[in-house]
């Protein structure tokens, strides 16, 4: 009966058998992972996001709070190589914006002036910034202008004239770092609590498992909201940042704890654990040195999968005004300004940060799927 199904995989398996002779577990995983084109794509997108947001000061032409008073609620601006007369310029440029009064509404509206060109300069010296906690100081930006009155807002500006593109770069840093720290915290919580439950078993195990079951059957967002709302209003942005991350991690650890516990319970009976105990290893050492490494790959996969949940939770909290607050910008903070439906309809580009969220989450999901398959020894 089984022969039909297995025959098809015989070739793949024999190939794998030959490779196993020399490859380590991690190498095998990487080889399997490499075959997932979508996972590679997801990983690539995330790597780019990390890269650009890490060097936000350099790539962003403005700081998140800098305002262009003459261009509030401004639409995304394109840059050109070919001007209105049809001549080609090697250096890209933007057309000048001049403020005119609308004859009907009598409001001041920025309009395109195709007679004046503002040429874009690269590696231009402009505002100073400190980077890496002040270790590096510089004033070189990837692109910008030499004249103060010239400006380029690639993705438009918000009500106050702040540059959406720059804000997204900085927000990406915040949101990804919250995800990373949140995931790390839940990793620690999950390993410690799951480890205790799985290694000792019995009463402790029962207690922790009940706790997990309890947390998992509670609607998370209302709970997060309530916890976030309980944070004192006068706290600084940094304090809020830390506590929000902690709150998100507080609820995200259960999945990992279950995995750790399940694995430990089965490993407990293995001979190598007995051998370690007989040779006088402490409990903590047995778990940390002998048991955890044997299923590390699974835990990393679980972490990747829980990443987008934390990011989405942060976005939702901040969107409601209960998470991060200005002057810290995160994806959710940027979307907060789109909560007002009228301004959202007036400035649809306020939704662009949402697109970034979606792309990031899809990228994480692709990556997670690929890694899950790679870590599974039974998938071919």
């Amino acid at each position: 009966m089984a022969s039909a199904g297995t025959n098809a995989t015989v070739a793949a398996r024999t190939a794998a058998v030959r490779l196993t002779d020399t490859a380590t577990h991690w190498q095998l995983m990487w080889w399997k992972f490499r075959r997932h084109k979508m996972a590679l794509l997801g990983g690539g997108i995330l790597a780019l996001m990390v890269f650009f947001s890490l060097f936000a000061e350099f790539f962003a032409p403005y700081t998140p709070q800098e305002r262009t008073a003459k261009y509030t609620q401004g639409a995304p601006m394109g840059f050109h190589f070919i001007d209105a007369e049809g001549s080609i310029h090697l250096r890209p440029f933007v057309y000048a914006r001049v403020t005119k009064r609308d004859k009907v509404t009598l409001r001041l509206v920025p309009t395109v002036d195709t007679t004046t060109r503002w040429p874009i300069k690269f590696f231009v010296r402009s505002d100073d910034y400190k980077w890496m906690w002040g270790l590096i100081e510089s004033d070189i930006h990837f692109f910008g202008f030499e004249e103060r009155k010239e400006f380029l807002h690639l993705l438009g500006t918000d009500q106050l004239g702040r540059d959406i593109f720059s804000r997204i770069l900085y927000a990406t840093r915040t949101s990804l770092s919250i995800g990373a720290i949140g995931v790390l915290l839940s990793f620690v919580l999950g390993i410690v609590l799951g480890g205790i439950a799985g290694y000792f078993g019995g009463m402790v195990d029962n207690l922790i498992m009940r706790l997990i079951e309890f947390i998992r059957s509670v609607p998370t967002l209302p709970l997060w909201l309530a916890l976030a709302a309980a944070l004192p209003r006068e706290w600084t942005a940094l304090q809020v940042y830390i506590s929000i991350t902690a709150i998100l991690a507080l609820i995200g650890w259960t999945h990992l704890a279950r995995r750790v516990r399940g694995k430990l319970l089965s490993l407990r009976e293995e001979e190598f654990v007995l051998a370690a105990r007989l040779s006088g290893c402490s409990h903590a050492r047995i778990v940390a040195r002998h048991m955890l490494p044997s299923f590390m790959s699974y835990m990393i996969v679980d972490l990747t999968i829980s990443f987008p949940y934390i990011i989405m939770a942060e976005t939702a909290l901040s969107f409601l005004g209960l998470g991060m607050r200005e002057p810290i910008v995160s994806w959710g903070v940027l979307l907060y300004s789109a909560q007002n439906i009228r301004s959202m309809i007036l400035m649809p580009w306020l939704l662009i940060p949402g697109l970034v969220v979606i792309i990031a989450v899809i990228a994480f999901n692709f990556l997670g799927d690929g890694m899950r398959d790679a870590a599974d020894p039974y998938s071919q």
């Binding site: 609607p219 967002l221 709970l223 709302a229 949402g354």
Partner: protein, 330 residues
């Protein structure tokens, strides 16, 4: 079988008790109590209360008693349907919630129905026609559906409704039915508006359930009992419905409680974006304004709904699966 059911019901009761502790703690968590905000409020109105007056007020309200006494006092009220007083609305919490809870319930239930009624057929289709064009389309849609925060989805819908139809997709009633008493016409009007929040709330869950259904069904389709049934001459359609689909339904049913958790979890934020007259905006406002009895009551109700949902899905599963029914699962 009686044991299994009794076990689940007991667990649900324990959960409810634990939730009440959590909700009460959350109410007490922010610094200051009801009297503090009352004093503040009076102060803004120019009335300054003396220390004695404040203490006396605490005394009459029972706020000077130990925490656990206050807790049991609160729980005692809740059991009798008294959820405390809303400072913001100056009305009993139970009254305010009573007006809006039915809409939340309708929304949650309809979304649950929508999720499963779309996910199960699509999941079956995707598994049976694995790697077909349709399967790929649903996979792509699923990835997007899972990755889109539902408030984002709601915003985009609002935007397109405005651009293409010039209407607002928010709310649950047309203007003329906003405050009208319940009637057939009002119900029809509600249904005409309801699909927007239902789709917004249900998409992520639907995407997830399609995946689950597809994966389990693909697993089941390769099982020996399917071949065995085929070998006895059962027609392909009957075979599919009677065995693998029936098997794959079980894990789906076991997720009802969990799915309800997600729906309840997402409802407040969607309620705000779409300005629904349900408990969602009420809850977020209560949190933002530290209207704590209202917030606490809503947390309790949300969790209660989820616990009841989980209990129902557990009981359904017991009814559906003879192996669990007879307590033979390890």
């Amino acid at each position: 079988m009686f044991n299994v059911v009794a076990n689940r019901i007991l667990w649900a009761c324990l959960m409810m008790a634990a939730i009440s502790v959590v909700a009460f703690t959350l109410i007490q968590l922010p610094p200051g109590d009801f009297v503090d905000s009352y004093v503040n409020h009076k102060q803004q109105g120019g009335v300054i209360m003396t220390k004695d007056e404040v203490a006396e007020m605490r005394g009459t309200l029972g706020l000077d008693r130990p925490m656990y006494v206050q807790y049991f006092d609160w729980v005692g009220g809740v059991v009798q349907g008294d959820f405390g007083f809303s400072w913001e609305f100056r009305r009993p919490v139970s009254e305010i919630i009573g007006e809006r809870l039915p809409l939340t319930l309708i929304l949650a239930f309809t979304t649950l129905l929508f999720t499963y009624l779309t996910a199960i057929p699509i999941g079956i289709y995707s598994a049976v026609r694995q790697y077909s064009v349709g399967d790929h389309v649903f996979t792509v849609l699923g990835y997007i559906g899972l990755a889109t925060p539902n408030f984002m989805f709601a915003l985009v819908l609002l935007y397109f409704a405005h651009v293409f139809f010039g209407t607002s997709a928010g709310g649950l009633f047309s203007a003329e039915f906003e405050t009208a008493p319940w009637s057939w016409a009002r119900i029809v009007d509600l249904l005409a508006h309801l699909w927007v929040p239902v789709v917004v709330l249900g998409t992520a869950g639907t995407a997830f359930q399609i995946r689950t259904m597809r994966a389990t069904l693909l697993d089941e389709l390769n099982k020996l009992y399917v071949t065995a049934a085929r070998a006895s001459g059962v027609s392909e359609f009957r075979l599919l419905i009677k065995y693998p689909v029936r098997m794959a339904i079980n894990p789906i049913v076991s997720t009802i409680g969990w799915e309800l958790t997600n729906i309840i979890s997402g409802a407040p934020i969607v309620g705000i974006v779409l300005s629904l007259p349900d408990t969602g905006p009420l809850f977020v406002d209560a949190l933002l304004n530290s209207d704590l009895y209202l917030a606490g009551a809503l947390i309790l109700i949300y969790c209660g709904l989820v616990i009841i949902g989980t209990l129902i899905s557990d009981l359904l599963l017991i009814a559906l699966d003879p192996r669990i029914r007879m307590g033979s699962t390890a």
